[in-house]
């Protein structure tokens, strides 16, 4: 929001340099977005000569002395040596005059755009000479501003006091700062100055003896939407242009002057922060059809319309608040007025409205209509209900004063729902000091708060504080401490570390587990990907991953169809990321992602930390958020062997992770999975539970992700394998006696599974078997079709003695027999 320094100075001295003013704002919590130093780059020039422009009755050339040599950028426009030639349409300049010259690239304060080089009648003219209105220093638009003193080349800001405009970002809790008096109050307090507030009552000489109640009546039908609705009536108004000072004030904050009545409502909005609306009372009576202005405030009936001030026909909904003339909606409350009751040049009597509106209702209407006005922006924030009469008096006085009218006696209003007072608040110096971490005495606190408009009573170290009506954001001692903190400055607060009262953490947290998994993946050569957790509805049908059969969660307001449901598996987006890398030319890309999927209807019980009163039970349960490790490996060579290696690598990562976290390997069970190569896919089980899957993408799926070559993928449910609390570990003494390592070679039918054989070995083995590894598998040769050979490397060891060869052989014979029994194995000698 824009603030004019010159306007702010109506209420406080503020003669500090602009930089000091900016610092005072920033230090007390008002963000300064931009500072427009008025007229930067504009200089004083002396006209050395004027000459008529051939073929024009009013244009003339002016040669300018800019003090010193002509700058290179303007050299092309020099006709008489040492001067720059510009064109002007103003009749009032002559040789010898001192004038403001705005070169190309500068922007006169009251103009919207930077100047360039104009071509008029075939002549190029750089920048322009400025009038008072263009500089924002006066109302005279007819002629160039002739300066009384100054030297050629001098910055105009030195020769002339130009306005400075601040663009401020006001935090949402401070609607009282969305106006010049509010910011002036902040600055006065920060800089230790007094504040001159504008008069809040109507002077006697502008008042009429007639009561306004003879001309208007107010009825509120929806007190929740409109807790207060107040009006004043001004008679004998002559609508016309506003005086110069008012027009200038409005221009300085980017508003266009219209007429004195409308301009005053806009002025008071920017002065006091209360939006006002001016109706033409006679037109209002005409629309309402009653003898006097019959103001009714209510919600709109669907199908009702208002033609607004911009001439747009607005259809209303039952959520919108309207101000009606009798039964007819006359304006959209808090957002925009209607054209049928608007002030015109013929208006003689003004019905001036100032009301309190329910912020959320105004915001909803403004959003639905796609219409944000200064009024709606303010009302959304929730304004004090004590403000309307103050603003009404100020505006009514100004209208009467500037338009020759008089203000009828009294307010016509209803105030069914006064807001409760937010005070008094008890505050001690001790509490203030303890919360800030400093020592501060009560007198300093009292002084600080009083500067901001708080009424403070001090009794020793205890203060009783009454917030001013415009500070609806302050209701707690903590709120007052914030006021004190920001005004005295946080640089006064030392930096300390909290006392060590909290025991060192004992509860397990997820993060170390995640760190361990990431370390395994990175060590195995995988790069980390982070993909968006929302996916397209169709993604799961291409590659369901672990989300097979799960119900996804749909977003009610997604950004796009591509991101419309929460993922039930990370694999589709991970494969897409893999494909993107391949298409960027990276080879053999290996990606992993560790993140959550979302399964509706899977969570058992409440989420941790749910409120103890059980109120969450009434809400639909939150979805389960399983933690998934998903990996995808690209095989640039595209060979079956390369792809097999890649699947094995995925398997190796999962087995490592599983052993590290759960102390147990995952078991692969061959399974045909949608999207995966039927002969090269398996689900993974841990303690009987399905915890993962892995395999190679089938050709259709790889093609769907537009990836050349082959791709191995896998997905593992970390939350299902990682015990909580994490598994304890311990270290053991290395074996003290030697092992006997023997090979056992067998042949089996080609469709036998290694996993079954290893299970059989472990089941048959006695405690002497330390390890059984299938280290070779071969086909062909003398085996013939339908058979394959396996060589197991068996490690036998006894913990308490050196094993004899006979013992190891006996154990191996038992194993061989079990293999023959369970797998139809023939022993090869």
């Amino acid at each position: 929001m824009k603030f004019s320094l010159r306007w702010l100075r109506d209420y406080a001295t503020l003669d500090a340099p602009v930089a000091a003013i900016v610092k005072a704002l920033v230090d007390t919590g008002t963000e300064v977005g931009a500072v427009e130093l008025g007229g930067e780059g504009i200089v004083v020039a002396r006209i050395t000569a004027v000459a008529p422009v051939p073929g024009s009755s009013h244009l003339q050339f002016a040669d300018l002395d800019l003090g010193g040599e002509v700058p290179p950028s303007l050299a092309a426009f020099s006709v008489v040596p040492g001067t720059v030639r510009v064109m002007t349409g103003a009749p009032n300049v002559k040789a010898g005059d001192l004038v403001p010259y705005a070169p190309p690239g500068t922007r006169p304060p009251a103009m919207d755009e930077r100047l360039g080089v104009r071509t008029i009648r075939g002549h190029k003219s750089p920048g322009m000479l400025c009038s008072a209105i263009e500089l924002g220093v006066g109302e005279d638009a007819d002629g160039i501003l002739i300066l009384d003193d100054g030297t050629p080349g001098q910055a105009l800001t030195e020769a002339l006091a130009l306005d400075t405009v601040f663009d401020l970002d006001i935090t949402t809790n401070r609607p009282d700062c969305l106006c010049h008096v509010g910011i002036a109050r902040e600055l006065a307090a920060a800089l230790g100055e007094g504040l001159n507030e504008p008069p809040s009552s109507v002077p006697e000489e502008l008042l009429s003896a007639t009561s306004a109640e003879l001309r208007a009546h107010v009825r509120i039908e929806d007190p929740d939407g409109c807790p207060r609705f107040a009006t004043r009536v001004i008679e004998g108004v002559v609508v016309g242009p506003s005086p110069g000072w008012l027009r200038q004030r409005l221009r300085s904050v980017g508003l266009r002057p219209i007429n004195n009545v409308v301009d005053i409502t806009n002025f008071v909005l920017h002065e006091l922060g209360e939006p006002l609306h001016a109706f033409d009372l006679e037109r209002f009576v005409e629309v309402g059809g009653a003898r006097i202005a019959d103001v009714v405030v209510r919600r709109a009936v669907p199908g009702e319309h208002v033609v607004d001030l911009l001439g747009t026909d607005r259809e209303l909904s039952s959520d919108d608040l309207v101000v009606c003339a009798g039964e007819t909606p006359a304006s959209i409350a808090g957002v925009i007025g209607g054209s049928a009751t608007a002030v015109t040049d013929a208006t003689r009597t003004v019905l001036l409205e100032a009301a309190s509106w329910d912020g959320p209702s105004i915001r909803a209407t403004s959003k639905r209509l796609g219409l944000r006005t200064d009024a709606s922006t303010l009302f959304e924030k929730g304004l004090s209900d004590r403000l309307p009469p103050v603003a009404l008096n100020r505006a009514a006085s100004l209208i009467a004063e500037l338009s020759g009218g008089h203000v009828l006696g009294g307010f016509v209003e209803e105030w069914p729902r006064p807001l409760p007072d937010l005070g008094p608040i008890d505050l001690t110096a001790r509490f203030t000091g303890e919360l800030l971490g400093i020592s501060i005495d009560a007198t300093e606190i009292a002084t600080t708060l009083a500067q901001l408009g708080f009424a403070v009573e001090q009794d020793g170290g205890t203060l009783t504080v009454m917030p001013p009506y415009f500070r609806r954001d302050v209701s707690l001692p903590e709120d007052l401490v914030e006021e004190v903190g920001r005004m005295i400055g946080y640089s006064r607060v030392p930096s300390t570390l909290p006392g060590r009262r909290v025991a060192v953490t004992t509860t397990a947290s997820v993060a170390p587990v995640e760190d361990a998994i990431r370390d395994v993946c990175v060590g195995a050569g995988f790069d980390e990907a982070i993909t968006f957790a929302f996916v397209a509805t169709g993604d799961a049908s291409v590659l369901p991953g672990l989300g097979r059969g799960r119900t996804p969660i749909a977003l009610r307001n997604p950004l796009s169809d591509e991101w419309s449901v929460m993922r039930t598996s990370q694999l589709p987006r991970l494969c897409a990321a893999l494909a993107a890398n391949v298409n960027r030319g990276s080879d053999d890309v290996m990606l992993f992602e560790l993140g959550r999927a979302f399964w509706e209807g899977e969570r058992v019980g409440l989420a941790p930390g749910s409120t103890p009163d059980g109120s969450d039970r009434d809400l639909p349960p939150l979805p389960l958020e399983p933690l998934l490790l998903s990996v995808a490996v690209h095989v640039s060579s595209g060979t079956p062997e390369g792809a097999a290696d890649a699947v094995r690598r995925v398997q190796a990562v999962f087995e490592r992770v599983s052993r590290d976290l759960a102390g147990a390997a995952v078991r692969a069970v061959p399974s045909e999975e949608h999207g995966l190569h039927p002969g090269r896919s398996a689900v993974l089980r841990c303690n009987g539970e399905l915890v993962g899957l892995l395999g190679e993408l089938d050709f259709e799926t790889a093609a769907a992700f537009e990836v050349r070559g082959r791709v191995a993928v896998g997905e593992l449910r970390i939350d299902a394998i990682a015990p909580s609390p994490p598994m304890p570990v311990r270290y053991a003494q290395p074996p003290r006696f030697p092992a006997i390592v023997q090979d056992l070679a067998v042949t089996v039918a080609a469709d036998r599974l290694a996993g079954d054989a290893i299970d059989a070995i472990h089941e048959a083995a006695e405690s002497l078997l330390e390890d059984a590894e299938l280290y070779d598998e071969y086909r062909g040769g003398s085996l013939g079709a339908g058979r394959k050979g396996w060589t197991f490397r068996l490690t036998f060891r006894a913990a308490d003695r050196t094993l004899t060869g006979e013992e190891a052989q006996r154990a191996q014979d038992t194993i061989a027999a079990a293999l023959a029994r369970h797998c139809g194995a023939e022993i090869r000698r």
Binding site: E482, P494, R556, S610
Partner: protein, 352 residues
């Protein structure tokens, strides 16, 4: 016989000289010195047939001497051959170490992960425990219980992904404050990293991003503790000489509220387009936990006070490592993940 012995020994010495490789030398050794039946050692068997003890002793001595000579010659020849073989293999096995080593394949973590780890580590030093919360959250926890009741501007559905009337994707990690208070009570110190979601997508906003939140509750916690803790964090993360400044601000869930700013990492405070010519960059929002928020978490605000802060992890990573565009963090381009050593970095933080 003496002459024969000498002849055989001379032959052996000749054969030794002629042998060019270990196999040939082995053959010579076997032929002349083989146990029992070697051509030279065989003479030892014949010694028994010499009846004269003196002659037998002389002969024995001579044979032994010759065997010793031949053995020495063999050993010497073997060393020579081995030396030659080693010399040949050294020549053949030359390794050109000027050729760069094959790349050691190691994966790379996302800068988001690296930053989150570092943040957790720093707060861990101060006794903050890492906790997490659900990403699909109740409206009540995300908004109402952290002082953003229905109708509050921050709840605008423009900015929030809703699932239904009561559930949404959390817009910040703050609801975990409530959950952590309900679980742990007071006192506590927790650090909460996690994914957050807002309905916003442009060059500087991602609809999914990461935040980190900290909560410290105890008796007597003051703004000074907030300042000290977060300055310790900022200087640990961005470098010991980082210039910092505090500014009052407003957040619904803290009172008082403060924002921490870091001197612009690009211009070092002199003003540039990155910091919009202010010289400072917003780093994090913080404040003393609002008494109503404490109450909502079941903590008695008359006994305990606390501070909290929240920060975008992407922003911290971008500032620390000079990442020019937030979108790079979500492109998943493996080439981006490999950091370069910067001769002069924007911040003092070493590369991950």
């Amino acid at each position: 016989m003496t002459a024969d012995v000498h002849r055989v020994a001379a032959e052996a010495l000749e054969a030794i000289t002629a042998a060019q490789d270990p196999a040939a030398l082995d053959a010579v050794r076997t032929r002349y010195l083989g146990r029992g039946d070697g051509e030279l050692t065989g003479y030892r068997r014949g010694l028994g047939k010499i009846t004269d003890p003196d002659a037998r002793r002389q002969m024995g001595q001579m044979v032994n001497e010759l065997v010793e000579r031949v053995t020495d010659a063999l050993d010497e020849r073997q060393r020579t051959i081995e030396r030659a073989a080693r010399a040949r293999s050294i020549e053949a096995e030359t390794l050109d170490l000027t050729r760069p080593a094959p790349p050691l394949r190691r994966g790379r973590l996302s800068p988001v992960t690296l930053a989150a780890r570092e943040i957790r580590r720093i707060f861990g030093q101060l006794g903050f425990e890492t906790v997490e919360g659900p990403e699909v959250e109740y409206d009540r926890y995300n908004f109402t219980l952290v002082n953003q009741p229905p109708g509050h501007p921050a709840r605008d559905s423009q900015d929030t992904f809703y699932i239904d009337d009561s559930r949404l994707l959390r817009t910040h990690t703050s609801p975990v404050q409530i959950r952590s208070m309900l679980i742990r009570g007071a006192p506590q110190r927790v650090i909460v990293p996690g994914k957050t979601y807002r309905r916003d997508h442009d060059a500087t906003h991602m609809p999914m991003f990461h935040q980190v939140e900290a909560l410290c509750i105890d008796e007597g916690i003051a703004v000074s503790d907030l300042k000290g803790t977060l300055e310790f964090f900022a200087r640990s993360f961005f470098g010991a000489n980082s210039a910092l400044q505090w500014r009052p601000h407003h957040f619904p869930f803290t009172e008082p509220s403060l924002e921490l700013e870091l001197a612009c990492v690009v211009c070092r405070g002199s003003g540039c387009s990155v910091c919009k010519y202010s010289g400072w960059l917003e780093l994090l929002g913080s404040g003393m936990v609002h008494p109503q928020v404490l109450r909502n978490g079941g903590v008695d605000p008359d006994r305990y006070s606390g501070f909290a802060f929240g920060m975008g992890i992407e922003r911290a990573a971008m500032l620390a490592w000079g990442i020019p565009d937030m979108r790079l963090l979500y492109d998943n381009d493996v080439r981006f993940l490999v950091p370069e050593a910067a001769s002069e970095g924007p911040a003092e933080r070493p590369a991950p």
